[in-house]
Every structure is written in C-alpha cells, then in structure tokens.
C-alpha cells in the first residue's frame, strides 16, 4: 500500500529531468545518494534479510484491517495533519519518527481513545468516528495494546494482570484461565511458576514488557499495538522483545502496529514503515523502499541512526 493518498514519498522524476541528471550526475548528487543507499543497505543488510524472511513466512493478505484515511487532529496545537496509512491483515506496520511527532497519538486513534477532528479511522471494517463509547469498548477487545511502560496494574499480581481481560471478556472457568495464562507466559519466555505470583514492582523492565505483551495477547486479538516496545531497554533485551514481536506475527499471524524510533528493530520486523515528521507522514513503504528513498529527510533519519 504505497499509493496511499497521504503518501508523500518522492515521486519519480519526469523523463527529461532524468536525462539531464544522467548527463550531469555530479551536479545532481545522484552518485552520492546511490552511495548512501548502498551504504544503508550494507548497514542494515542483516535486518533487511531477516525482515524479508519474516514477510515470506507471514504471507500478508490484501485485506485492510486498520486504516487511517486523511486523519487530522489538534488539541491546543495541531498533532496530526492529513495522515493516511493502511495495515493489511498479517502485516506489521512500524510508525517511526522523532519524539513528539504524534506517533503514539496514532495508536490512540486506532484504539478510539481519541477521535480525529477530520478523516476516518477504520478498524476491521468499522468506522470508529461514529461509534459510541460503549461500542468502542467492545471494538477494543479485538486489539491488544502493549504500553511503553507496560502499564501493568500494580495492585494485581502477574497472574491477575494477564487473567484480567480473560475474566472481563470470556466465559472461561478458573482452570482454563490459568492454563491460558501459563500458555501466554511461556510464549513470552517467562517461567509461569516463578513469575505468576509476583507483583509488577518486583519485575525488571524487560520482564514487565513481556508480561505486558502476554496481557495484550491474552484474548488472542487480531491486532496488536505496541507503543515503543524497545525503549528504555538494554540491547540484549531489545533483541529479545523484537524477536518476540516477530514470533507473534509469525506464529499467530496477528496484524501489528508498532510505534518505535528504533529503526534497526523496525527493519527486522516491518512490512511497511511509516515515517512521521512535522505531524505528517513523509514516507510510507517497505524497508527496502526506505533505504532506496532519495527523500532528504528519510536519508537524514536513517543516517542519524
């Protein structure tokens, strides 16, 4: 979905410009860009390779499941302007960009925690603009959200945290709930017997994130949303969490929307990357296209990594 209306990815230059450019390459700086692209490819080779393999295995379908259609939002200042992006079933969209560009706001719009001033937000065929608060609560059950700080309920144990959505929205009995909690904890590589009784305050940052993921996926949602899943973690734990997100998309085929400024893990897991700058999407395409992009901002963003 590179032809989104809001997509401002650099359009191909007209043929005559192209000829001029070939005739006078130095002036246009094309070799410099080409070199930069090769450099970037070389730098992110491993991540891109892994990403490709992941995407092949997933075999994302063409059916759109999350869609933002020309969305604008402002509070006391504009937050997002004319943002469009589409996630198809099984895809992983990474929303990258500098801090304070409205990345997390997109997740809140998808969750209908916020309503856009203009434009539409569509999740699984339902236009969220018009739903009531109560309907939004039901729609949210299709989505699992992993918060930046995990946002585990600190008055509840790990077991109760993961069991919470199950108790709220399913008719499972206690044994089934416990089995499900164990399954999810094992999925995120935590030992159920060791952590189930602990309180969130007793866990490390990486463990909290993993419990957060387990809670998000407890009701087997079709869409997983991650807000900075790797921020504030050491490189090793970052790798673990990234692999976990990929495992989730591979094995459970969930659609993921990840907000992150960690471009390395973005390349590893993304089907598409949306780059936000100044409230707008300046690039939306695959990681391959991103390294090939001649957009100055994209180059700068990748160069700064």
């Amino acid at each position: 979905m590179t032809d989104t209306p809001g997509d401002t990815k650099g359009a191909p230059a007209p043929p005559e410009r192209e000829e001029e450019r070939r005739a006078n390459p130095e002036e246009d700086g094309e070799p410099r860009l080409r070199r930069a692209e090769d450099e970037l490819r070389a730098r992110f080779a491993e991540e891109l390779q892994e990403g490709e393999e992941t995407q092949e295995r997933i075999g994302a379908s063409r059916e759109a499941i999350v869609e933002l259609d020309h969305v604008s939002l402002a509070f006391d200042r504009p937050i997002l302007e004319n943002v469009s992006l589409v996630a198809r079933r099984g895809e992983t969209i990474v929303i990258a960009g500098e801090s304070g560009t409205g990345k997390s706001t997109i997740l809140k719009l998808i969750l209908r925690l916020l309503a856009p001033d203009s434009g539409r937000v569509i999740v699984d065929g339902e236009v969220l603009n018009d739903v009531t608060y109560e309907e939004a609560l039901v729609i949210r059950q299709k989505m699992g959200m992993v918060f930046q700080g995990a946002a585990l309920f600190d008055s509840m144990s790990v077991f109760e945290n993961i069991a919470f959505p199950l108790r709220e929205h399913t008719t499972l009995n206690e044994d089934e709930i416990e089995a499900r909690v164990r399954e999810k904890l094992e999925f995120v590589d935590l030992e159920p017997d060791r952590v189930m009784g602990q309180l969130p305050a007793e866990l490390s940052g990486g463990m909290k994130k993993r419990v957060g993921i387990a809670r998000g996926m407890a009701v087997n949602p079709a869409i997983m949303l991650y807000d900075e899943p790797t921020s504030g973690l050491d490189p090793l734990t970052t790798g673990t969490i990234t692999r976990l997100v990929m495992k989730l998309q591979r094995e459970l085929k969930v659609t993921s929307v990840v907000v992150s400024h960690d471009i390395r893990s973005a390349f590893r897991m993304a089907t598409k990357i949306a780059l936000l700058a100044e409230r707008r999407i300046v690039f939306f395409g695959s990681p391959e296209e991103m390294t090939a992009s001649q957009d100055r901002y994209v180059q700068d963003f990748l160069g700064g990594v």
Binding site: F75, L114, L137, R140, Q141, M145, F147, Q148, A151, F164
Partner: protein, 388 residues
C-alpha cells in the same frame, strides 16, 4: 483644563457622528483646524482596535481551548456522559478558527497606550473564560458522579473491589476516627461542664454532648478525617494509575475505568461513612461519660438517661427511628459520596507526572473538606426543615 476637555468631548462626539463633511473628502484644509475629519482618520485606527477587540475574544477562547481538549481527552479515554453544550458551542462556533493575533490587543503597538475600556474588556474576558472553565469542571464532576451511580446497577459488579475498598476506607480509618471521636466527646463534656456549672445545670452535660455529636460533630469530624486520609489516598492511587497509563490500559482492555475504579470506591464510601459516624458518635458520647463521671461527678446511669432523653426529644420517624439518627446518618452518606467522587475526579484528571499526583492529592483534601462544611450547612437547613 476644562476647555481642553470640552474640545476632546466635542471632537470625539463629532468623530463618532456620521459627519456631513465625510461626504466631501476634498476639504482637506479643515484639517488644519484639527477638526472632525482629522480625528476621523484616527478613529479609523480606533475602529481597527474595536476589531481587534472582537478577535481577542476569539483568541481568548482559542488559547483557552485547553479545557475543551481536556474534555475531549476525557471523552476519548474516560468519557463522562454526553459532550457538554458549552464545549460544542465553543468547538463549533469559535474553537477551530486559527487565532489571527498573537499579541493581546491591549498591548498592541497599533493602539499606543492601553485604553481603559480595552483593559476592562480583557479583564471581563478573562473572568468569562475562567467562569467557563469552572462550569466545565463542575459539569465533569457531576457527570462523573452520575455515571458512577448508574454503574452501581449494571453488571459486572466488582464485588471484590468493593470489599477491598470498604476495608481501605472503613476498617483502616477506624482507629483515627475513634480516637478523635473519643477526645471530641471528652472536650465537649469538659467545656460544657464549666459553662453549665455557672447555672448549676451540669446534669445536662449528656444532652449537650449527644446533640452536638449526633447532629454535627460526629458526621463532620469523621468526614473531614476520612477526606484527609482516604480522599487523598484515592486521588493518589488513581492519579498514579493515570500517569503510568494504567487507566488507558483499562480502557484498551475494554473496561470502563469509572466502573472499575470509581463505582467500587463510591459504594464503599457510601456504606462505610455512616458506619464510621455511628462508631464515632458512640465513642464520643462515651468520652463525655468518662469526663462527666470522673470530673463532674455525674453518675453513669444519669448521664445515659439524659443522653436518651436528648435522642427522644427530637421525635421519632415511623414510631421507632429517632429523627436525630436520621439527620445524623443522612449527612455521612452524602459526605461519603463527596469524598469518593472528589478523590476520583482529581485522580482521573491528574496530569504532569508525579507532581500532578501531588497536586491532585492536595486539591482533593482541600476541595472535599470545604465541600463537606458548606454542604453540611445547607443539608442541616433542609433536615431541620423536614424533621424540625
């Protein structure tokens, strides 16, 4: 001086009038006299000032869209009831237009020194905007209360949470409420004994202590203590849940935070406040008994007989229920509601990290205590009217 003032008055008046000379703009030599036309050119600037003044009201509202945004966020995340008419008016009418002027009109260089009228306009405008924000806040407060009450009658009931909150609000406040109740009863007995001794009426200590404790001091003291201890706790807990995104997490897990957090606290406070008050009253009257017996020398039997006389003197409702008890238990019920809703309201509206949590806590205690005292007066008026 007088003459100059007259000149000014004339000039301004004639400038404001639809002057016939305006039809002949070629008569420029009139200007040498500093006559109306000349002033009219300045008035042109003044008209722009008037326009600025108009726009400034837009700026004012634009700048103060914060409460709207906040309400919008609340609707998004927490959503108390329907969007307010005021908000809709502000949003649809004036809210979206970009503010064309960034500097306030009354400091605008075009106007020179600020005129008194404009300063007044700005003053009234800020009062107006402040009033709007307060109206919005009050509306949000009652919206939250209404929603919390409505959820009492809708599944699921979160009984576990209610019991846990009853423990936190009631059982854990027991010590402090009993201690203060006991000492209040003792000091009441002590003070009245000194006064009554002058008239030789010390045997009525029991009546006075009972009337004060049951009708006023028991409910109000217990409520203010609980507001300080429990109200602040509620605000701190919900406030830190807000800043650590736990309330957002509840929302994303498809659970209404008001139902999960506010309703159980409200139910617990509504049940536990009257219970605490009964205990506080009893202990207070007991404290009076200690002083009356040990210090004044009134036999315990006589003391308790006067206590009962006082209770019975208020009359009975439905033949068995003393009117004083009805009065004394209506108040804590209302105060319990005030404490729980105020704590939850400031907790949910917390912003700005840990500092915000601190502010929410302080505000809860102040607002809840003041509300308790003010509501107490009006409630007393109503109850006295109903039960004499």
């Amino acid at each position: 001086m007088r003459a100059e003032r007259d000149h000014i008055l004339r000039d301004v008046r004639s400038a404001a009038e639809r002057h016939p000379l305006l039809a002949h703009p070629h008569d420029r030599h009139w200007c040498l006299w500093r006559n109306a036309i000349d002033i009219a050119a300045q008035i042109d600037v003044e008209h722009r000032v008037a326009d600025h003044g108009y726009f400034s009201s837009r700026c004012g509202i634009e700048e103060r869209r914060q409460p709207v945004a906040r309400e919008k966020r609340l609707h998004g995340r927490v959503s108390y009831g329907t969007r307010s008419t005021l908000t809709r008016l502000m949003r649809s009418g004036l809210g979206h237009a970009p503010c064309p002027f960034t500097t306030p009109v009354w400091n605008s260089p075009a106007t020179g020194s600020p005129s008194r009228g404009l300063r007044l306009a700005g003053f009234f405008e800020s009062i107006n905007d402040g009033a709007k924000m307060r109206v919005l806040a009050v509306q949000e407060y009652f919206g939250l209360a209404a929603k919390a009450v409505r959820f009492m009658f809708a599944r699921p009931f979160y009984l576990g949470d209610v019991v846990q909150q009853m423990d936190a609000i009631g059982v854990e406040s027991l010590g402090i409420v009993l201690l203060t109740g006991f000492f209040t009863g003792m000091v009441l007995a002590l003070q009245t004994s000194v006064q009554m001794a002058q008239f030789g009426a010390t045997m009525y200590i029991g009546r006075l202590v009972t009337a004060s404790m049951v009708r006023e001091l028991g409910p109000v003291l217990a409520a203010i203590l609980v507001a300080g201890r429990v109200g602040s706790g509620i605000a701190a807990q919900i406030g830190s849940m807000r800043v650590t995104e736990q309330i957002d997490a509840l929302n994303t897990l498809g659970v209404d935070p008001i139902k999960k957090l506010v309703t159980p606290r409200l139910i617990a406070a509504l049940i536990m406040m009257p219970v605490l008050t009964i205990l506080s009253d009893t202990v207070g009257i007991g404290g009076g008994n200690v002083i009356a017996t040990a210090y004044v020398g009134i036999p315990t039997g006589l003391y308790w007989r006067t206590v009962w006389e006082q209770i019975a003197s208020g009359g009975f409702i439905l033949h068995y229920i003393p009117a004083d008890f009805v009065q004394g238990l209506t108040k804590p019920f209302v105060f319990g509601g005030i404490i729980a809703i105020t704590g939850c309201y400031f907790g949910i509206n917390t912003k700005g990290g840990t500092e915000g949590v601190g502010n929410a806590t302080t505000r809860t205690v102040v607002v809840a205590s003041v509300m308790i005292l003010v509501v107490d007066y009006f409630l007393t008026q109503v109850l006295l009217f109903l039960f004499g």
